[in-house]
């Protein structure tokens, strides 16, 4: 009798517990399923023609869109690789610039390190458009740099340095500028969590500073380094705003092609193929490197 009652009450308790969990999770899950999962699934099915949205859509499932995308003579795949090259360059430069910053803050500064870290990060938390706009004002033909050079008589008037704005170089410069603050963070966290006694041990055992860095510090901060790399590469590969503002025709990226197909070309099916491809690439990257990316570290410090 007693065991039966206990079992019944345990069952009741478990059901109630499950009810609480369901009550907590139902609203967020519903929101994400409706407005995050469903739209993505929808784009995926639209990219293979499974859904008829416009009169011109066939409604017949076919991989033509994808075949066209991967097939020879497709400009989009070439554009994708160009964007990958640009993103890779930006990511490498940003990580190389941010690493010394993280190293400095984590290992050389004592009292003020969180304040100084905040100084580096704050620009990232403010308007993205504004920071891009700042460079547009800086680098235009009549912009700050050119007009400054002219008024200092370093360049003749009417002969601005033209490649300053609307070039691949500008896009990469601005992207690097935008992402440095954010990337300093995971590098800082990995170096800050480093066990200092390991450095002391290396030094006691006679290792030089360079050797200590190469054999102890660098390997231990590698997860942070990889996370930093992913943090720049993933968002910049799908970038379209920066090229629109400072890229001109040379700086046109894969993201611009997607945007154009949806806003100007009105070829939503090709656009869906391009968008899905980008999403698959990003998901693949996360599957490969996701374990290095400690999302918690981003918010906590």
């Amino acid at each position: 009798m007693a065991t039966q009652e206990a079992a019944a009450s345990a069952k009741h308790w478990r059901r109630r517990e499950r009810g609480v969990t369901a009550a907590l999770l139902s609203a967020p899950m519903l929101w994400l399923l409706l407005f995050f999962v469903a739209p993505v699934v929808y784009v995926a099915s639209y990219s293979v023609g499974a859904i008829k949205l416009f009169p011109t859509d066939t409604g017949v499932i076919s991989l033509d869109g994808w075949r066209h995308f991967f097939g020879g003579g497709s400009i989009y795949l070439g554009l994708f690789w160009k964007s990958v090259r640009m993103s890779l360059t930006v990511s490498v430069i940003v990580v190389l610039l941010a690493y010394p910053i993280g190293y400095f803050l984590a290992l050389c500064v004592r009292k003020l390190k969180y304040v100084l870290l905040l100084v580096v990060i704050v620009p990232f938390l403010t308007s993205f458009l504004l920071r891009v706009l700042a460079w547009k004002v800086m680098l235009g033909d009549k912009g700050v740099v050119n007009s400054l050079l002219v008024s200092l008589h370093l360049r003749p008037a009417n002969e601005p340095i033209e490649w300053l704005l609307y070039s691949q170089f500008t896009v990469m410069l601005v992207l690097a500028y935008v992402w440095i603050p954010f990337v300093a963070l995971p590098i800082f966290v990995s170096l800050d969590n480093l066990d200092r006694s390991l450095l002391e041990a290396a030094s006691d055992l006679g290792a030089s500073r360079v050797r200590t860095f190469l054999r102890v510090t660098l390997p231990l901060s590698l997860p942070g380094l990889i996370a930093a790399f992913v943090f720049v590469f993933v968002p910049t590969i799908g970038e379209f705003v920066t090229p629109l503002l400072v890229g001109g025709t040379n700086g046109y990226m894969y993201g611009n092609a997607i945007q154009d197909l949806f806003t100007r070309g009105l070829d939503w099916q090709s656009g869906s193929v391009l968008a899905m491809f980008l999403l698959i690439v990003v998901a693949g990257l996360m599957a490969l490197f996701g374990r290095y990316v400690q999302v918690r570290s981003v918010a906590a410090d």
């Binding site: 517990e17 907590l24 407005f35 290992l107 504004l130 450095l199 799908g238 968008a275 999403l279 990003v282």
Partner: protein, 285 residues
């Protein structure tokens, strides 16, 4: 001996650090200077003026777009914080089947390209309209409500990431103590958990607010004719005569958002430090 750097290394790292800070802030400061410049944004400076700031106020389209962004940011952050708190409680204090899946799902908006997410929602809403209008005569359409829906999704992981660390430090034994003293679950939540969690809720709100206020990619696809501030700013950048005005507003927005972010950060740190001592399980025993 300092192991991390030699003396020379330390000096060069310090110099490098401040040069980089200069690089990060110089363009923004230049922009702020030109917002007081009586003329085009180029050298030589043509004199001090504040009339760009005055012009802003007499530009109703601009003011409206700022107002829209405020509304969108407020509503979407309130929803995102609410959903974020619910999810944080579930992830930290409940045991359930499929937790890794739920966790992956709530954090994946962090890495989805906003461009892709924006067009996905655009496609979904277009389909919704096609279906709903034909069968029920209900028109959902694009506009601020669509932008809110999108912003809640992308802000949600940030709110969770802001709430979770503090919730983790709040000892469960506080809840148990309240229960032992006869408080109902609702009362416990309202009088114990919620007040203790408040600092995290406020900073989560501010983080979500700044994210939404500044968000362009998603809003550009979903705002329709109701342009939010970033969408308006982007569209007007092609009009050179408006540039000084836009720079003036941007400077104000920059300073305001910087203050918001800083106060959120400072508040959160203060709270964590205090709770670290008094309210965690370690502090109680």
């Amino acid at each position: 001996m300092e192991i991390a750097t030699s003396k020379a290394g330390r000096v060069s790292l310090t110099v490098f650090f401040w040069l980089l800070v200069l690089f990060l802030y110089l363009p923004i400061m230049v922009l702020a200077v030109f917002s007081f410049n009586d003329g085009d944004p180029s050298f030589p400076l043509s004199g001090f003026t504040t009339h760009w700031y005055g012009d802003v106020l007499s530009n109703p389209v601009l003011v409206t777009s700022l107002g829209r962004s405020m509304v969108v940011a407020t509503i979407s952050s309130l929803i995102a914080v609410t959903l974020g708190v619910l999810t944080s409680f579930a992830l930290l204090r409940r045991r359930f089947f499929g937790k890794p899946v739920v966790s992956a799902l709530v954090f994946s908006p962090l890495v989805i390209p906003y461009l892709v997410f924006g067009i996905s929602l655009l496609l979904l809403f277009t389909l919704l309209d096609k279906v709903l209008t034909q069968s029920f005569g209900f028109y959902f359409g694009l506009g601020l409500h669509s932008v809110v829906i999108g912003h809640v999704v992308v802000a949600l992981p940030y709110t969770i990431l802001t709430v979770m660390p503090l919730l983790e430090r709040l000892s469960v034994s506080l809840d148990e103590a309240a229960k032992d003293l006869g408080a109902s679950p609702r009362e416990t939540f309202r009088r114990v958990t919620l007040p203790l969690l408040m600092p995290a809720l406020i900073s989560a709100f501010l983080v979500a607010f700044t994210l939404s206020f500044d968000e362009f990619a998603i809003a550009s696809f979903l705002a329709g004719t109701q342009q939010t501030w970033p969408v308006y700013l982007f569209a007007q950048l092609r009009v050179p005569s408006l540039l000084p005005q836009l720079i003036a507003v941007s400077s104000v927005v920059f300073i305001a958002s910087m203050l918001l972010v800083l106060s959120a950060e400072i508040g959160r740190r203060l709270a964590e430090r205090r709770y670290g001592r008094e309210y965690t399980a370690r502090g109680l025993t």
